[in-house]
């Protein structure tokens, strides 16, 4: 039997995942360290019968992806910090108009131009709150080549299921690391597609809640009257300022995701049995953390690792359990402390929380985390 084992860069896994998930439209703009995704897409898309377009900037990139999705095609773009900033207005639009799309942000070091070739996790809060206005958002964070594949597929499924923009928050190390992985074959990949209208065009209201909170989505050109706007809109998609209608829309936008919080607890837990100290990490830092925790266990230290794969919505119910069962928690991340703020918010002061941060463009090493663990247990 032919083995499915391949040596892949994270970026390659992301591209393969997108194709496997049914993505057939990519629009992007070159930016380090996300350019590989775009270069690979320029070859993969035509082969898959899809469309690849290089746009004139990142505003246009997400604009085109949103347009393609409204045309009925699964669409994505990929970028890094500066480009992600330019995309924020469209993210807000996609959340408001409920347009499924996937945005990959390969985080790089620093603010502004920063450290383009080095890793960071500085966009965690931006991924949640960067787009203007109250909006729900879904953000996943891969820590390995395999997870980049897995979570990209799932990101498309989430986008389709919830009619929402979904952000894959990778970092430079995850995107550039080459690893030997076994990827599922095409028929093994679970793919979800948006619900299409089953009513005749004259009965269709594009934003009417069918009871699930997620209205069936017609594609432009199918014969349905589909009016799309970033303004507050009624069930027909027409602008409204009526209080009952704006309230209903906002409630539905949030509820369609919050009703499923229990399904959106995506994490891996290691050595949790008897763990007095729990390390919380995500992205490439989780790899260093696993090594540190393993070494600590070998030395007989009661420590576990909680690796978060879903960052937003924040996994309150999962993290709370670890906060209750641990004597103390270490949150390690390559920023000045972003997700640790959420952990602290959920914690409500019940468990001592220590942060381990690094912002010099270097990875957090297993030694650093091990030292932090040893200090906790001293």
């Amino acid at each position: 039997m032919k083995s499915n084992r391949v040596l892949l860069q994270g970026s390659e896994a992301c591209v393969r995942a997108a194709i496997a998930a049914g993505c057939r439209f990519y629009a992007g703009y070159p930016i380090t360290p996300a350019t590989e995704i775009m270069e690979l897409m320029s070859r993969a898309m035509p082969k898959a019968g899809g469309v690849f377009i290089q746009m004139e900037d990142e505003i246009a990139s997400l604009g085109a992806a949103v347009g393609a999705s409204l045309g009925g095609v699964k669409a994505m773009t990929a970028t890094s910090g500066p480009g992600f900033s330019l995309m924020q207005e469209h993210i807000s639009f996609a959340a408001m108009a409920e347009v499924p799309c996937v945005i990959v942000n390969v985080m790089r070091g620093g603010l502004s131009t920063g450290l383009p070739t080095r890793p960071a996790q500085g966009d965690v809060m931006q991924a949640r709150w960067g787009a203007h206005g109250d909006h729900p958002i879904l953000v996943v964070a891969p820590s390995s080549t395999y997870e980049f594949f897995d979570l990209t597929v799932k990101a498309f499924n989430l986008a389709e299921r919830y009619r929402s923009p979904v952000i894959v928050l990778a970092d430079e190390v995850v995107a550039h690391t080459r690893e030997s992985v076994v990827l599922p074959s095409a028929h093994e990949v679970e793919v979800e597609d948006r619900v299409r209208p089953s009513v005749p065009p004259e009965w269709y209201s594009p934003y009417r809640d069918p009871g699930t909170g997620i209205p069936p989505m017609a594609a432009f050109g199918e014969g349905y009257r589909f009016h799309v706007t970033g303004l507050m809109h009624d069930i027909n998609g027409y602008p409204t300022e009526r209080q009952d209608e704006t309230e209903e829309l906002m409630a539905r936008l949030f509820n369609k995701i919050s009703k499923d919080f229990h399904l959106l607890q995506w994490y891996d837990s290691y050595f949790e049995e008897g763990a007095e100290v729990t390390v919380i990490a995500y992205g490439s830092v989780a790899r260093s953390a696993l090594r540190a925790v393993r070494t600590a266990r070998e030395k007989g230290m009661p420590v576990g690792l909680l690796k978060l794969k879903m960052l937003w919505p924040f996994m309150r119910r999962t993290v709370s359990q670890y906060l209750q069962s641990s004597r103390s928690v270490i949150v390690a991340e390559m920023n000045m402390g972003q997700l640790s703020r959420e952990v602290k918010r959920v914690n409500q002061g019940t468990c001592p929380i220590h942060t381990l941060n690094r912002v010099d463009g270097r990875m957090i090493t297993p030694e650093q985390i091990l030292t932090a663990i040893e200090e906790e247990l001293r």
Partner: protein, 312 residues
Amino acid sequence: MAPDTIKVGKHQIDAKEYLAPGHTFCTGCGEALAIRLACKAIGNDAIIAMATGCSEVCTSPLPVTSWQLPWLHTLFENAGAEISGIEAGLKAMMRKGKAPERDIKFVAMGGDGGTSDIGLQSLSGALERGHDFLYLCWDNEAYMNTGIQRSSATPYGASTTTAPAGKLSMGQSTQKKNLVEIFAAHGIPYVATASPSYPFDFINKVKKGVAIKGPAYIHVYAVCPTGWRTTSDRTIEIGKLATETGVFPLYEIEGGKYRINYEPKNLKPVEEYLKAQGRFRHLSPSEIAKIQEKVNEDFALLKERAERLPAG
């Protein structure tokens, strides 16, 4: 004491280096050469705003800089906006007597991506508002800094990493955006094309550009051995070939009036230019014929304009 100028034939060039050595441009980079010459033409009392790109990355590798002039890099899309603010702000300070009255030269620079794609909007705004500055576009015909991705200034037929040539694709399938005519259509006082392969013509144009009141735009042809798949010793030669074949004609538009600065009796066949570069290696004779036809057409159109609207 070192001389202030170097004499080359009848030309005098500033002896001072404003772009210090130690930068990280590739060997044989046409852009590096162009920036060095342009700065000599601009001289002191200048402020440079630069868009993201090869020239930004290569002149300011952490933690050093090659710039001997005040220099600012902010983002990819906003060299036009930055220079607008610098010019308007400083002039307001001078007007109010809060800064000494001086003839400061405001210069913005960007690559073809930073000018034709992401930065087009901010530059168009700056030209329309009429700020007193010179914009220099270093056109190496792709995003070389991130690894040879196509831009809207990439010529038809060139292979790039996002417009790769292969069995099903002939590389870039669209025509190069005509930035010179786009900016000329803003009705600004001075627009020109220039090439470091013709250094004195280039230096004169930069001097003219900074001296003119109001916005000026110079489109500079920057041979890129790395991205164009040529050897680093052919930069000047390929630059000349581009002009001699009519691919990159040298001309000025002053107050809407045209002047062709270099017009060979007969244009060389464009094949000579294409064959010198690996990025065009895959082109079939029929594709080359198509490119030749387009070059002929464009050159004829330029000549027609120059005859209809001649500069004095």
